[in-house]
């Protein structure tokens, strides 16, 4: 019995436009992580992150429960997790990374 790479199996069945659509859908689903899930995935407690972001734990709790965030708040949160924020505008087929936000 043999196995094949998914990459080759997918390339053999999907046209390039279909493969692009699939990639975009998967990216979107993976990005659908809440801030809290992101923190938990990194095994960081709320208290640890609050300390790293120079916030109180109750501020952090409110932040994670909010549905809408300022870019600066998001940046602070993600940088405290050791990451970086990138904002990309998607217009039609163009993807432009915004540097002035």
């Amino acid at each position: 019995m043999t196995v094949r790479t998914w990459k080759s199996v997918k390339a053999g069945r999907l046209s390039p436009p279909a493969a692009s659509r699939v990639r975009a859908r998967a990216d979107e689903q993976v990005r659908e992580l809440t801030l809290k899930e992101l923190r938990q995935d990194l095994d960081v407690t709320q208290a640890e992150l609050a300390q790293a972001a120079d916030m109180t734990q109750s501020e952090m709790s409110r932040l994670e429960g909010r549905a809408d965030h300022l870019t600066s708040t998001l940046r602070r949160y993600v940088e405290a997790l050791g990451g970086q924020i990138e904002i990309t505008a998607v217009i039609g087929n163009r993807r432009v990374r915004l540097t002035d936000v």
Partner: protein, 241 residues
């Protein structure tokens, strides 16, 4: 962490099934596999389960649409997998031995947390919630909340016992199932994740609606065991990682 990707392989049988799908369904299946690839070894695909045959009965296995009972059964399987893993850790000789050596107050705190988990895993409370949730999305949210409750109690038990609070692994070496019921056509894929090799093998896929699928699971489990034992060979060079 979850930013590590999996190396994804398929069996010839899975490749043939995928090639036979119509365009729309092929895109749906491909998106599901790409998500699993991107989630990596540390994060299980939402909705995927290791409990495969516990509800093996023709009248259940043939649900092929957005049947509320089928959703609730799958949600229960996902929840039960997680609860079982937590309880296995809390009943392990290492945890019990630590518990015996703790001061009474700490031991009581740890035991209270264990009791909270056992209470939360009571099937009656789970099923009451599931069967009253009006839609699949609400049930998904309920499962997420129910898991978060368990995780919080688990971490409390670990901390009270002086262990580092880390979650149980997302994958064991058991075969997993991911079913997609909406939109039609509904399908399931059976796959396994070898965390050590950071590799997933998709063993087979099929449309939902078969009157009996135990034979598929048993065949897939045999193939997955062969893969784990290194008995499957690749028809293409494995990518360097």
């Amino acid at each position: 962490m979850f930013l590590r990707m999996l190396q994804v392989m398929t069996t010839e049988e899975f490749a043939r099934w995928f090639a036979s799908l119509d365009d729309a369904c092929a895109e749906d299946v491909a998106a599901a596999l790409d998500v699993i690839e991107q989630l990596g070894p540390d994060r299980a695909a939402p909705g995927s389960r290791e409990s495969l045959l516990w509800y093996e009965h023709p009248s259940v296995a043939r649900f092929d649409e957005a049947n509320p009972i089928a959703y609730a059964l799958e949600a229960w399987g996902e929840f039960r997998d997680y609860a079982r893993q937590l309880l296995a850790k809390l009943e392990s000789p290492r945890f019990v031995s630590r518990l015996e050596r703790l001061p009474p107050a700490q031991a009581a705190a740890a035991l209270q947390a264990v009791q909270r988990i056992k209470g939360a895993t009571d099937p009656r409370s789970f099923w009451t919630r599931m069967l009253h949730a009006p839609r699949a999305r609400a049930r998904d949210a309920d499962v997420t909340d129910a898991r978060a409750t368990l995780r919080s109690a688990y971490f409390a038990a670990l901390e009270a016992a002086g262990f580092q609070a880390t979650d149980v692994p997302a994958h064991s070496r058991a075969l997993r199932e991911l079913a997609r019921r909406e939109p039609a056509p509904a399908f399931r894929v059976l796959y396994g994740v070898d965390v050590g090799r950071e590799t997933a093998l998709f063993v087979l896929g099929e449309r939902l609606g078969r009157s009996f699928y135990g034979d598929s699971v048993r065949r897939a489990e045999a193939t997955w065991s062969q893969f784990l034992a290194g008995d499957l060979r690749s028809t293409q060079p494995m990518p360097l990682r």
